[in-house]
């Protein structure tokens, strides 16, 4: 069944913060994930496990939704790393606004971002 939230695009406050559990120390793995505050997720019609498109500064990535009460109440945390760096710039390096929309398909991969950095 089609979900109503599929058609909604909401603005979110994104905090970029170190999140030790989404990557490994060998640089071989980095999870494409965004942590939403449960209240924000509820208001936005987004559920844990959804894939959302996160768009900021004219660029977009698809990230898998997890919930965390440590996230800002008006948005989420993107762990410090390749996906956050792809979206941000130095004007809002650790905190920026993004548009969020439930998306189809798989989350973005590290390889996709590398390909965009150096095609």
């Amino acid at each position: 069944m089609m979900r109503f939230s599929k058609f909604l695009k909401v603005e979110a406050e994104i905090v970029v913060a170190r999140y030790a559990l989404v990557s490994d120390e060998t640089k071989s793995r980095f999870e494409p994930v965004i942590f939403f505050h449960p209240e924000f997720a509820k208001r936005s019609g987004v559920k844990e496990g959804d894939v959302v498109e996160v768009e900021a500064n004219g660029r977009a990535v698809k990230l898998k939704v997890k919930l965390s009460e440590s996230a800002p109440e008006s948005g989420g945390i993107i762990p410090n790393g390749i996906f956050a760096s792809y979206l941000t710039n130095f004007d809002g390096f650790k905190r920026f606004k993004a548009n969020i929309e439930v998306a189809e398909g798989e989350p973005s991969s590290v390889g996709e971002i590398i390909e965009r950095v150096k095609p």
Partner: protein, 399 residues
């Protein structure tokens, strides 16, 4: 025998390996020791695997032809390798910079210039009462910071530990995991604008009303109970402040109320080592040009790439593709990129030349500098001949 974990700037020196089990390390540290043989870089030139000497020779040839080189990174290697990297930059008349130019370098510089009073983590453990984590979440960034050095230990003059002998303050834009600990003898201040809290401390000390007057008043009163209080400042503080000078002045003025020190919190294992090593040589902690004989914001790695000022980048033990905004990282495709790294990082994957090196603290010994400035000697588990020292010496000899 104990080992030093090179995972972060805590440089925990109590890691033991017993029957293959890693003891005392945090989750990140455990992974560093357990998986150091995984995802290793291979010597490559333009996408083709070559032997290590060929990769070094090719890099040397590129550097000979380069008109404007930047050497960048080195925050995860040893002081001894950093010294060689700086020597190489000098020989090449190159630019040199590290992550600290967009991380906590300006705080380290203020400490080295004696503008911010500082102390050691051992003194914090033994004596500190008020401890402010400002824009830092050690739960994820410095996992053993609070258990080894600050909130939890029973220090020499703080025998009752966190239950009664510590006053924890957490300043953040969100209720982080660390903020959730701020319950008894504690204060969580959720800020939207860090400058407003700085301003509030000033106003309270002048007896004026302020947005965070209540919180600032409580903290200043608690500080009077101790001869050692400390602010641990993280990246949230760095990017929350518009004016570092005002923060430095706030710390100075708060010292008129009670002793207050500052220790940077949350960066690569030996970022402070890079800052101190370059500072000793040039009087600048980062973004330095040997050609111009001075440091400047225009010589930051990010500025050089964005302004097209370099034709070659030597990136040592760091991963700008993962850590820098796309607008900057994507400029790497316009320069020749030489990556020296133990691992096949995203930056290694876009490099023209990859020179695989050793993991400092596991395959290479030497010295690193902890976040508070303490110099820590690294032990070796399995020596690797081709390490940053070997590579940098070979390049310098070949020039």
């Amino acid at each position: 025998m104990s080992f030093v974990c090179p995972g972060c700037s805590c440089l925990c020196d109590d890691i033991e390996i017993v029957d293959g089990r890693i003891l005392h390390a945090c989750r990140r540290g455990e992974e560093i020791f357990e998986k150091y043989k995984e995802n290793r870089a291979k010597p490559m030139v333009k996408g083709k695997e070559v032997d290590i000497d060929s990769a070094i020779e090719e890099a040397t040839e590129v550097l000979k032809d380069s008109k404007n080189t930047v050497i960048y990174g080195m925050d995860t290697t040893t002081v001894e390798a950093q010294q060689l990297g700086i020597e190489l930059a000098e020989k090449l008349n190159a630019y040199i910079d590290d992550n600290s130019s967009f991380c906590l370098g300006e705080f380290v510089e203020a400490i080295l210039r004696k503008e911010l009073p500082t102390t050691t983590l051992e003194d914090v453990r033994d004596r500190a009462y008020v401890m402010v984590y400002w824009g830092a979440n050690p739960f994820h960034s410095l996992s053993r910071h609070m258990s080894r050095y600050s909130y939890y230990p029973r220090g020499a003059k703080r025998p009752r530990g966190y239950e009664e002998d510590r006053f924890l303050v957490v300043v953040d834009v969100r209720r982080s995991e660390t903020a959730k600990l701020a319950k008894k003898n504690a204060k969580f201040i959720q800020v939207d604008n860090d400058d407003e809290l700085v301003d509030s401390f000033f106003k309270v000390m002048e007896g004026k009303a302020a947005k965070y007057a209540k919180e600032a008043g409580i903290i200043l009163n608690e500080m009077k109970k101790s001869d050692l209080n400390v602010i641990f400042g993280g990246l949230g503080l760095k990017y929350g402040l518009k004016d570092l000078g005002k923060f430095v002045e706030m710390v100075r003025k708060m010292n008129e109320v009670a002793p207050l020190y500052f220790i940077p919190a949350g960066f690569h294992a030996n970022m402070r080592g890079f800052n101190e090593t370059l500072f000793e040589k040039t009087g600048y902690v980062n973004k330095y040009s040997f050609k111009d004989g001075k440091g400047d914001v225009d010589f930051a790695f990010t500025s050089l790439l964005q302004n097209g000022k370099v034709d070659t980048a030597v990136i040592i033990g760091t991963d700008p593709v993962s850590s820098l905004p796309y607008d900057v990282a994507s400029k790497l495709k316009e320069v020749k990129t030489i990556v020296i790294d133990p691992r096949m990082s995203p930056t290694a994957r876009v490099a023209d030349i990859i020179i695989p090196s050793a993991v400092s603290g596991i395959e290479m010994g030497g010295t690193m500098v902890r976040s508070d400035g303490a110099r820590i000697k690294l032990e070796v588990i399995e020596e690797r001949d081709v390490n940053d020292i070997y590579i940098l010496k070979k390049i310098e000899e070949g020039l």
